[in-house]
C-alpha cells in the first residue's frame, strides 16, 4: 500500500498534496495495490471527503489537541505510529515547506533514507524509482531505495491531478497518544505578509522581473499582470532581490526557488545560469528583453526584443480581453 501525507493549512487541504495523492494512485495501479491518505491535526475529520476523489480508498485521520498546530516532532510521532501499524511499502509527501520539514524527520525516525523534491516517479520490478533534480536542475539523478518503507517527497506543480472520482471511502479515525513533552518546536502563529498571495512554487503562472525592471516601484506593473491572470504570482531574479527591490521569497533560481509553472513570463531578465536552472522546467516560457543576445531567449518559447515598459501596457490590455472572454 502507498501512504500519502495530506497537508492542511488553516482548515484546507493543500492542492500539492492532492497532486501527490494522484501520483500515488497511479503508482499504486502499477503495483496492484491501493493508495491511502493520512490527515494529521485536530478537528480535521471533515476534510476527508475532499481527499477521496483524488485516489484514496481509505483516509486515516490522526487527531490530538497537541497536533492542532504543526510541529515536525509531533506530526512525525503521529505518522510513525500509524506507519508501524499499517506498514506501507511507500510513503509520499509533497515537497512543500511542511513536507520538506516533516519527511526527513519521519525518515530518520524510521531509520530509512529519503529522496527529496522528485519530479518523476516510476515502478520497476515492484520497487519505486524516482528522478530528482540536483544542482537546482542542472543535472537529474534517478534513485532507488535500499531501505523500506521507500520515502519520497514530490515537487509541487509537476504531477497532474486525477480526474476527480468517488467522493466516498473508508475513514479510519485514530486518537494518537503523544507525550506532551515530546512535542517540540511548535508553530505559534502564521504571519502573513500583507498582499502576499500565492507562492511562486504553487502558481500556475509566474510573472518575473529582473534588473531590467529598474526599480522597486516598477514591480507594481508585474503585480497588475498577476491581478489579471488567475493563479499567478510575482517572481524575481537574484539581482532584483539583491538590489532590495522585492523580498527574497520571490526569488527564482539556484539560491531561490525552483519553479515549474505552466507559464513563466520573464521581464528584463537576462537569464544567468543560476536563474535558468530554477525555471527551465516551466512548461512554457515567454520573455521580454531589450537585448537580443540575452540568454533568456535561448530557453523562451516566445520572445519579444523590446522595452518592457512599452510592451507591458498593451500586453495587459490584450490579456484582459482574452481572460474576460
Amino acid at each position: 500500500m502507498i501512504l500519502v501525507f495530506i497537508e492542511t493549512r488553516e482548515g484546507k487541504v493543500k492542492k500539492s498534496s492532492l497532486e501527490v495523492l494522484s501520483e500515488g494512485k497511479r503508482r499504486a495501479g502499477d503495483l496492484n495495490t491501493e493508495a491511502h491518505a493520512v490527515l494529521i491535526g485536530h478537528g480535521i475529520e471533515g476534510l476527508a471527503p475532499g481527499v477521496f476523489p483524488f485516489g484514496a480508498s481509505k483516509v486515516y485521520v490522526l487527531e490530538n489537541t497537541l497536533l492542532s498546530h504543526y510541529s515536525a516532532s509531533g506530526f512525525s510521532q503521529a505518522l510513525v505510529s500509524l506507519v508501524e501499524e499499517i506498514k506501507p511499502e511507500i510513503i509520499l509527501f509533497s515537497a512543500s515547506s511542511m513536507g520538506k520539514d516533516l519527511a526527513p524527520r519521519v525518515a530518520a525516525k524510521l531509520g530509512v533514507s529519503l529522496a527529496t523534491d522528485c519530479t518523476v516517479t516510476a515502478c520497476k520490478a515492484g520497487k519505486l524509482e524516482v528522478t530528482r533534480p540536483i544542482f537546482a536542475g542542472k543535472a537529474l539523478a534517478t534513485i532507488s531505495f535500499k531501505s523500506s518503507p521507500q520515502i519520497a517527497s514530490l515537487r509541487p506543480n509537476v504531477f497532474p491531478l486525477l480526474e476527480p472520482g468517488a467522493t466516498e471511502g473508508e475513514v479510519v479515525k485514530k486518537d494518537v497518544v503523544i507525550p506532551e513533552d515530546q512535542v517540540k518546536g511548535q508553530v505559534d502563529e502564521i504571519l502573513r505578509e500583507e498582499g502576499a498571495e500565492m507562492d511562486v512554487t504553487e502558481a500556475d503562472v509566474v510573472v518575473s522581473g529582473g534588473r531590467g525592471m529598474k526599480g522597486p516601484e516598477n514591480f507594481d506593473l508585474l503585480k497588475e499582470l498577476t491581478s489579471i491572470i488567475p493563479h499567478s504570482a510575482v517572481g524575481a531574479s537574484r539581482s532584483a532581490v539583491d538590489a532590495e527591490w522585492i523580498d527574497h521569497q520571490h526569488q527564482v533560481g539556484q539560491t531561490g526557488k525552483t519553479v515549474s509553472p505552466n507559464l513563466y513570463m520573464a521581464f528584463g531578465i537576462s537569464g544567468a545560469i543560476q536563474h535558468l536552472a530554477g525555471m527551465s522546467s516551466s512548461k512554457f516560457i515567454v520573455a521580454v528583453n531589450k537585448d537580443p543576445e540575452a540568454s533568456i531567449f535561448k530557453v523562451a518559447d516566445f520572445g519579444i526584443v523590446g522595452d518592457l515598459f512599452q510592451v507591458i501596457p498593451p500586453l495587459k490590455e490584450e490579456l484582459k480581453k482574452i481572460i474576460s472572454e
Binding site: 515536525a72 508553530v187 512548461k283
Partner: protein, 286 residues
C-alpha cells in the same frame, strides 16, 4: 603614567568577573557547512562512474551555509559563546573550514569521510549526530544552511534533530535567542511560521536571515595558523555497515535542452498582441 597603570589594573580586576559570567551564559554553537561547486558552474556528468565531473569546478562554501555561519557569529557577539564549524568530507574541505575561521569562527573540525557523494542525507545525519553525542555533547545550538547547493536535499538538519531528539526550525529568516529560549520565523508558501524553541535546537538558515560578512585580512591570517582537528569515522565508532548508503543512484543525466522558440521585434502593441495570441492559441496556457 601612574594614571595609565591604575587604568590597566582596574581593567585587570574587572576581567575575572566578566569571565565568570561568560562561562555561565556561554552558548556552544555548532555550524555545519559543505564544500560545493559555485552556482556559476556548468555541471558535467561522468556517465561511466555515475558522478559529477569535478574537474575544473570552483568549489566554495555552500551559499546558505554562509548565512548559518554569520548567524552563529551574531549570536555569539550578542551574548557570549563559542562557534565551532564542522564539515563532513575529505581534506579538500579544509579550505572551506578555513574560510569560516577567517569569517570569525573560533574552532573548526573535519569529520573525515572519504566516501564520494551518496546523495543520502540520512548517512550524513548519522555521522553528525554521532559526533555530537560522542565528542560535542556541550552543544546548545546546531546551525545549518537550509540545503546544500548541489545535492539540494534539505534533509540533514531535520534528520539530525530527530536523531538527537531536538526541536527544529528550518528555512529560518529570523532568529531571536533569549536565555535558553529561541524564536524563529520560518519561510513557508506566501507566509512565515513563528516557531518557539527551547535550546538546544536545530536551526537551518534561509537567505534573508542576515547579510554575511567578508573575511578580514586579520581573520585570514589567524585562520591560517589555526589547527583543524580531524575526527575519523572510526573515532566515532562508526563501522562501514553503520553508514552504508541506503539510496542507490542508478543514473545521472543532463536535463533535456530547451529549444529556443520564436523571437520577434517591432511595434510594442503588435508584439504584445502576437505574444498573447501565442499564449492563447498555441500554448493554450491563458
Amino acid at each position: 603614567m601612574s594614571l595609565l597603570l591604575i587604568l590597566i589594573v582596574s581593567f585587570r580586576c574587572e576581567y575575572p568577573k566578566r569571565d565568570k559570567l561568560r562561562k555561565e551564559e556561554r552558548v556552544n554553537i555548532y555550524v555545519f557547512v559543505k564544500r560545493v561547486p559555485d552556482t556559476e558552474s556548468k555541471i558535467r556528468i561522468n556517465h561511466e562512474a555515475n558522478t559529477i565531473n569535478e574537474e575544473g569546478l570552483n568549489f566554495v562554501l555552500s551559499p546558505y551555509d554562509e548565512y548559518a555561519v554569520e548567524e552563529a557569529l551574531r549570536v555569539r557577539e550578542a551574548g557570549s559563546g563559542k562557534v565551532t564549524v564542522i564539515t563532513v568530507g575529505t581534506e579538500e574541505a579544509l579550505t572551506t573550514l578555513k574560510k569560516c575561521l577567517a569569517m570569525g569562527a573560533d574552532e573548526a573540525v573535519l569529520l573525515k569521510d572519504e566516501t564520494p557523494e551518496t546523495y543520502d542525507g540520512l548517512r550524513t545525519a548519522k555521522i553528525i549526530a554521532r559526533a555530537m553525542e560522542k565528542k560535542f555533547a556541550d552543544h546548545t545550538m546546531l546551525l545549518f544552511g537550509k540545503q546544500s547547493v548541489g545535492a539540494d536535499n534539505a534533509q540533514v538538519p531535520s534528520m539530525v534533530a530527530e536523531l538527537l531528539g531536538l526541536p527544529q526550525a528550518n528555512v529560518a529568516t529570523k532568529l531571536k535567542i533569549e536565555g535558553n529560549k529561541g524564536i524563529a520565523h520560518r519561510e513557508i508558501e506566501g507566509a512565515l511560521e513563528k516557531v518557539s524553541l527551547s535550546l538546544p535546537a536545530v536551526i537551518s538558515a534561509q537567505k534573508g536571515l542576515n547579510e554575511p560578512r567578508y573575511e578580514t585580512l586579520k581573520g585570514i591570517m589567524a585562520a591560517k595558523k589555526k589547527e583543524i582537528p580531524v575526527v575519523t569515522l572510526a573515532d566515532l565508532d562508526l563501522k562501514d555497515e553503520d553508514v552504508a548508503p541506503l539510496l542507490e543512484v542508478i543514473k545521472l543525466e543532463s536535463p533535456p535542452q530547451r529549444q529556443a522558440g520564436r523571437v520577434i521585434e517591432g511595434e510594442p502593441e503588435e508584439a504584445a498582441k502576437q505574444m498573447v495570441k501565442f499564449l492563447h492559441e498555441e500554448a493554450k496556457v491563458i
